[in-house]
Symmetry: C2
Subunit: 430 residues, 2 copies
């Protein structure tokens, strides 16, 4: 019989145990920050009706990226982000609205796998929602919370910066420049991709889209001189500029010191309508955007007539941690060993005594692993203790049982002592 | 525009925040037991190649229950249990074999949804593995660990019992009764379904399968008189009976006091080859099997020529907790409130001071939620504090900022005091 492949499908992540312990530790650190900030952790289905995942008007674009399938008469698919499920959930629970929601869950994109692009990946979402209106103070709070979450794992990922952009600024500028709908869309896509395409291509793209050197230069000037030149041009421009300026001042006042304006941050064609932001890791530019989000005006419009506004973000958890773990960029030494003590048993007759000791150890949250192939030689048993990286081994034979003791061996120093179980627990706690 | 449905697909679980907190708490309790028992938590992909999920010889049976789809040339599907991925993973890491593995993850079965049957559900797996051989002492340890895991949430689910069966006993009895291959399979299926089908149907089934009153009565006698009558009939029967007897004695000796023999426990047509067991919740017979597992002889045979033997089990985590939560069988009072203090801010000018206070509170892991729509009246703000169930509200206006204080209001008693932030933290800790 041919053997089947042991590797996972490309684009799917599979960590080794020590890597997984680090991954889980980081998730716990960040989740604790979100919980202390009042976010309720939601766990929504990974499968949604196809009609929930897709809209007719952009079906073609999304379909190629989605895992879709049919069961009976029902067309369904795997979620590609956390927002689609949140929208549905929030609309279904309007009477008891969850104002702060977080989701740490797997999402799926069927795009062709490439370096750093996963087809199954974790994101950690956080959203603050309100009915009809919500102060931009909350946009500042979300950024502050993400900062704290990233700081909680800073020893692994280093410092971060947050770049703040504004959808209303571009909307107002496009209107001021009198662009038509098609031009608006083309230029917006160029701005969104500017970072990746280089200045020459960006310039060529603007020429193609606008065919107007003045307008082209005005748009390019935003990235050189900032928005100052556009003050006092139109009411909408003034409103967008003062929103952004006030927001940066607020961020600074509430202790966010790593934020700066970057009007090339646009967050693609997503549903954002106001301020938008992206986090980058200073020491890991190769990871691109570590987290991104912004303000939306009507989260649940497909599901309810109630207007849900809010600010939300997704932290690219797999993007950050799976990449860094796979590239050996994280020191795993503190995660390598998960067993405190291997309990080695000389003779089947001593299994009950030994398992009673194991229970006492586990009650004290000492990670204890018994070696229960009692017909194996002592040499095999101590090799096993060594192989699993146990800090101690505890040897239990007829003598130890007769004396109601254990022999505790420090696997690093080789020291061995006969002790009561209580004293052995104290010794291991040192 | 027609609004889309807000309910999840049938058979998919979606909990309310307080329910989710209880669910997550129980998962943490049980995971901590597994970690203290030396299990490494693995997180494997939910999507596998179709060839990994299916075998040609039983394709028809499994296919109807699986979510299968195709992307490009690759046929793939969602895992229906944790074992299929574990087999692949273990075979791929033989040089550094993970001897104890646990998985807490979502699995998928596309069967028609019915009460208590989920199409997306969590199971918590635990497996102890060895190369070529492994003592049945480990079967006893697995049962003991599951006991501890279930005990860690006993205040929600009550006590459990574990019923132990034996595949070798039935194999030996079928051989002693000289059944042909077809009869063996039919009778085994009947035994496996005996609990659900009632005595009359079981009897009729045996008559159909065997057409031999003597053999029929011998099989039925197992469920009345136990296995004693079958001692000294064949070597294989004696071996199976003494394995089971020794095992029950061992369980008792290592402190497992809730185990009994039940030879109707057979664990379906799965890959088990030795002792098998099922846990039932004493107070919740309606949930059926809460956990089940047993010994397997060759976990990774599809992936590797190395023989991996082991003992494994799956705890039906969603089956237990989602059912009990959905049926309001768990007292959620200790999970209803997740916010310690709502921070109410009188005037936009006081946002920086207030957010600084919020940071101090969160640093102490006090769950603090600021109300940042500062243009809203005090009445709206205090209603919000009440609505989110905050234990305290903290009011910050110009006076408090001037005095470097906060006004702390106990939402239950209505008491209100002006305090420094440090004293407010102490007051809330009381």
């Amino acid at each position: 019989m041919d053997l089947k492949p042991t590797k996972p499908l490309s684009g799917f992540i599979e960590l080794l145990p020590a890597q997984q312990r680090c991954f889980d530790y980081c998730a716990d650190c960040m989740e604790n920050v979100l919980i202390s900030s009042g976010f309720s952790m939601l766990d929504l289905p990974a499968i949604e009706r196809a009609e929930v995942l897709t809209d007719k008007d952009n079906w073609d674009e999304i379909e190629t990226q989605m895992f879709l399938f049919q069961k009976g008469d029902t067309k369904m698919g795997l979620r590609y982000d956390g927002t689609v499920g949140l929208s549905r959930y929030v609309a279904g629970h309007l009477n008891n609205l969850v104002f702060r929601a977080s989701q740490f869950s797997k999402r799926y994109r069927g795009e062709r796998a490439q370096r750093g692009r996963y087809r199954e990946f974790y994101q950690m979402d956080l959203d603050i929602m309100g009915i009809n209106s919500l102060s931009t103070n909350y946009d500042a709070e979300i950024i502050s919370v993400i900062n704290r979450a990233l700081d909680s794992v800073a020893k692994f990922i280093g410092p971060s910066v947050v770049l703040v952009g504004s959808r209303p600024f571009w909307d107002a500028l496009f209107e001021f420049l009198d662009l038509n709908a098609e031009q608006k869309k083309s230029v917006f896509v160029l701005i969104d991709k500017k970072d990746k395409m280089g200045d020459a291509d960006f310039s060529d793209g603007l020429t193609d889209a606008l065919g107007d050197v003045n307008k082209e230069n005005l748009i390019k000037s935003v990235f050189v001189d900032g928005y100052e030149n556009f003050m006092n041009k139109s009411e909408k421009l003034d409103a967008a500029i003062s929103e952004l300026t006030d927001f940066m001042n607020l961020l600074n006042a509430i202790g966010v010191k790593n934020a700066k304006i970057d009007l090339s941050v646009a967050r693609g064609l997503a549903y954002y309508t106001g301020l938008v932001f992206e986090f980058k890791l200073v020491n890991h530019p190769e990871l691109g955007t570590a987290a991104g989000g912004g303000r939306y005006e009507n989260l649940a419009s497909k599901f309810s007539k109630t207007k849900i506004v809010g600010v939300g973000a997704a932290i690219g958890f797999s993007r950050i941690f799976a990449s860094m773990l796979e590239n050996n960029q994280i020191d795993l030494s503190s995660f390598e060993k998960n067993v405190n003590v291997a309990v080695l048993i000389m003779g089947q007759q001593n299994v009950p005594y030994a398992m009673n000791v194991v229970s006492q150890l586990r009650n004290e949250w000492i990670v204890a692993v018994p070696y229960l192939d009692t017909d194996k030689k002592f040499k095999n048993q101590i090799e096993y203790a060594d192989k699993i990286g146990a800090q101690f081994s505890m040897i239990i034979g007829d003598d130890e049982v007769a004396k109601n003791q254990v022999a505790l061996k420090n696997m690093e120093t080789g020291d061995q002592k006969n002790l009561s179980v209580a004293d052995a627990i104290k010794e291991m706690a040192k």
